[in-house]
Amino acid sequence: MAKTIDARNLTRIFGDTTAVDNISFSVDEGEIFGLLGPNGAGKTTTIRMLCCLISPTSGSAIIGGYNIADREGAMNIRRMIGLVPDNVGLYETLSAYDNLEFFGKMYELPDGLRRENVEKYLKLVDLWDKRDRAVGSFSKGMKQKVAIVRALIHDPKVLLMDKPTVNLDPEAAKGIRDLILQLRKDGRTVLINTHNLDEAQRMCDRIGVLKTKLIAVDTPQNLERAISGTQTVVVLEEVNDDILNAIKAVNPKDIKRDGNKLIIDVNNPEKETPVIINAIVSAGGKVISANRIGASLEEVYLKLVKE
């Protein structure tokens, strides 16, 4: 699959603060990639470098075949990307329609296509009826939707969004998330900055955990699995000494009993769990369920970020 964004050893230093330290990652075409990290992790700085708004201190990035460091390339990249900045960045006294018309013209869209897109995308976010109202009178969620439409107006292949759901109520946030998922269906490549783990997990195909350095990059599932637990919960119809002895014979690290529930800790779950289950069944135990306790992405994240 084609790499739409390919960041190589990107570094940005402000005075004596290193905001982004030697990060490399790539985003495939049609993928939603999340940059996840706490405040001050360098997410905004990374997005700004990718948008050619600020230059890297060292390293480079290729977007859609163009280099961000190259002047001509930067112009082509700007035509290809849509940015939802961490502030909405709209003209508050102008109406939603006039804002979008203005940016459509700045992107050099032909009149017909521009009007078509303004209408299409305003309808997509349910704001077509409110198009003539000043953006300043909109709620945060509505402004954010207009900001997303603004970023979409020229049908960019790549969307870069800086905390698109921050400060929104849960319903508005869900609206935005659904919209982003819809964008992936249209084949767009999306890079999202977020400090919201749940959001990253729900939407992103892959997540890069950022804290000045890129700590890990993987799918949400793999990130969980990488540090998942070694404990298994087995619920039986009835627990008796025969069963317990049979399990002890396999030498697990630890067994806890809670009524008919056993929490068994082992060193190598892949190998030992089947043996234990087999031992339980041979001792006459009736297994109702057996579940590995996975670390949640949250635990993974906190663990990664603290290190």
């Binding site: 700004r48 708004l53 600020i54 112009m75 700007r78 990307i81 940015l83 960045g89 203005f102 700045m106």
Partner: protein
């Protein structure tokens, strides 16, 4: 400096229509700031009424000699040039700093727009309301001055050459000078307040000329001098524009937001 400016323009051709879109956008934002528009329109208009009235008062009540009255009237041509340089401080400092305050500059800078298109757009957006307002004030001024002084003078004082030169050459250049200065200042500062304060220093040459005129060191009513002053303004405008373009640093503008 010249060399790098040229190589700059070669890689990014300026599209005038894009500057015009930015100007129109600024104008429609300005239209919604009713008090600001009122202020911009009111100042030259008030002068257009007050200055002839003052002259009339001095002629009728104080019986100043006619030659003094005409000298006074003629000096107002330069007065309007000062106003023309002053007025843009109130709006174009708003227009760039305004983008920073609204945080819209980041959205604008990620579009395929060149620095020059932004700068020219900002210039035009500020120039049009200024020139309309100053010309309106000057027309009212000339009509009222003629109306009030005709019987005493026996001829129509306006229009005349030196006022025409000041109006059609001096005033537009003074406006562009004021705009250039405040665009330059406002791309460097983050509050409207400091943009006004630093921008106000652009008027110092005008004050100096005015004082020199008052103590009869130079005549501010001669066409030649108005032309010379205009030439000076033209040079200042070109220099300020080149400096603005050269020092318009997107990255710095974005970084210094915090």
């Amino acid at each position: 400096m010249r060399k790098s400016t040229l190589s700059w323009s070669r890689s990014e051709t300026m599209k005038f229509w894009k500057a015009w879109i930015i100007a129109k956008k600024d104008l429609s934002i300005l239209k919604r700031r009713k008090t600001l528009v009122g202020l911009i329109m009111a100042l030259p208009l008030a002068l257009g009424i007050a200055l002839p009235s003052l002259t009339y008062y001095l002629m009728i009540r104080r019986n100043i000699p006619l030659s003094m009255a005409t000298e006074l009237l003629a000096s107002f041509a330069f007065f309007f040039m000062i106003i023309a340089a002053l007025l843009p401080l109130y709006i174009s400092s708003y227009s760039l700093v305004g983008e920073k305050i609204e945080k819209s500059l980041e959205s604008l800078l990620v579009t395929p727009v060149t620095d020059e298109e932004i700068l020219i757009g900002k210039y035009i957006g500020a120039f049009l309301p200024m020139i309309i307002s100053i010309y309106l004030g000057e027309i009212v001024f000339m009509a009222l001055a003629d109306f009030l002084t005709f019987t005493k003078l026996g001829y129509l004082f306006y229009p005349n050459w030196s006022f025409g030169i000041a109006m059609f050459i001096g005033v537009p250049l003074a406006i562009i000078y004021g705009i250039s200065f405040s665009v330059l200042v406002s791309s460097k500062v983050n509050s409207v307040q400091s943009a006004y304060q630093i921008g106000a220093t652009s008027l110092i040459p005008f004050y100096v000329l005015y004082v020199m005129g008052e103590i009869n060191l130079i005549s501010l009513t001669s066409s030649t001098n108005i032309l010379l002053i205009s030439a000076g303004l033209l040079i200042a405008v070109v220099i300020l524009y080149l400096v603005s373009k050269k020092t318009f640093n997107r990255e710095k503008i974005i970084m210094e937001w915090k």
